[in-house]
Amino acid sequence: MKIQTLGLASLCVILASCGGADTESAEYRGDEELPNGMTISEMIETRQDGLEDVGGSFKTISDELKKGDPNVADIQTAAANVEAHSQEIGDWFPEGTGADSGVETEALDSIWEDPEGFEAAITKFETAAGELNTAAQSGDVEAIQAAFETAGGTCKNCHDSYRADDD
């Protein structure tokens, strides 16, 4: 009977922990204009498209590096694209484009609560993206591999603190 009680108790714990927290939805303000002339929803869409593009380029590099004989030209194009975006990312998170705008975003409020930390994460990324592009243009696959891992760490570094849902 003891084992049975234990079983029931642990089951209850498992079931109880399945219930997710409800996120309160903020009032929609996506049409409001930002100082840069874009609306909030346009800004969020632009940055998500940009980040998605960065992700796509990152996947290209990752796929190529996994092959025995990577296509260096494809890696070079992708790395140049990542570097270009790394210089834009600082403009993608103006004040007011968080989740409380009512627009769906995974950007956490910590971005605006901790601007120095966020700025530092951007700088790390910019540096690593620059080094990745330099390595890519050199064509040295081992150097590309090393720079790619470092740059990947800077994505994760920022996502861990400033992006919801670290999947």
């Binding site: 399945c18 796509g56 994505c155 999947d167």
Partner: protein
């Protein structure tokens, strides 16, 4: 049936091994993904892929209680079983009962979906990806990752239901289903004799199954 007091074999050892290795692999897969040990996540996931292929093969060519044809039944058989389970004393089925078969099919189906989605999944950094993800673009890979996450949630619910049902058999129907899944055996008097007779593992079929299971595991890594 000369020695009626002897236990009969209801689950061959491959079924039991599959079951308990899977039970161990699921939390391990969850933990490795959560902690970012993705190389191990992929290794364990591919192990599970091999196990699943074997289980599906065994469901057609394996021992009688392992075969889908022996336990997957239509709605009328399920209803009849549900009604009979209200009668006392409750007489357990030798293999899966028609109702429990639904949970077996759902669990196996979810695991197949889970593993298949994982093969194509890409994480948000474009860094970690399943071995077949180079066949799809980033957006599609992200979609697979989301399904991979979603089926895991479904899987947790199904596992919860499965465990609840086993507890129910134990507490309400006074039937211990765990012991047979460990030892493979159940007292002869509670087992129907027909299916319990030849539940051993045929060696040639086992060898073919292991070879078949290994095939996709290596193929996806090429």
């Amino acid at each position: 049936m000369t020695t009626p007091a002897k236990d009969v074999l209801v689950w061959d050892w491959t079924i039991r091994l599959f079951h308990w290795v899977t039970v161990g692999l699921i939390p391990a897969l969850w933990w490795t993904a959560e902690e970012g040990h993705m190389a191990w996540h992929a290794r364990l996931g591919l192990t599970l892929l091999g196990l699943l292929v074997f289980r599906l093969y065994w469901g057609v060519f394996g021992s009688p209680t392992a075969r889908f044809s022996s336990f997957v039944k239509g709605p009328s058989a399920i209803l009849a079983y549900a009604r009979s389970s209200l009668r006392r004393p409750y007489v357990p089925s030798t293999g899966h009962n028609p109702l429990g078969a639904l949970s077996v099919v759902a669990l196996l189906g979810l695991l197949v979906a889970q593993v298949s989605f994982g093969l194509f999944a890409v994480d948000v950094d474009g860094l970690e990806s399943g071995p077949l993800s180079s066949l799809v673009d980033f957006k599609t890979g992200r979609q697979f990752a989301e399904w991979h996450e979603f089926t895991f949630e479904l899987l947790l619910w199904m596992i919860g239901l499965h465990v609840l049902a086993v507890l129910g058999y134990w507490l309400v129907l006074k039937t211990n289903l765990v012991r047979p899944m460990v030892t493979g055996r159940r007292p002869a008097e509670t087992a129907t004799p027909e299916t319990a007779t030849r539940n051993g593992v045929s060696l040639p079929r086992l060898v073919i199954g292991v070879a078949l299971a290994g095939l996709p595991v290596f193929a996806v890594q090429l």
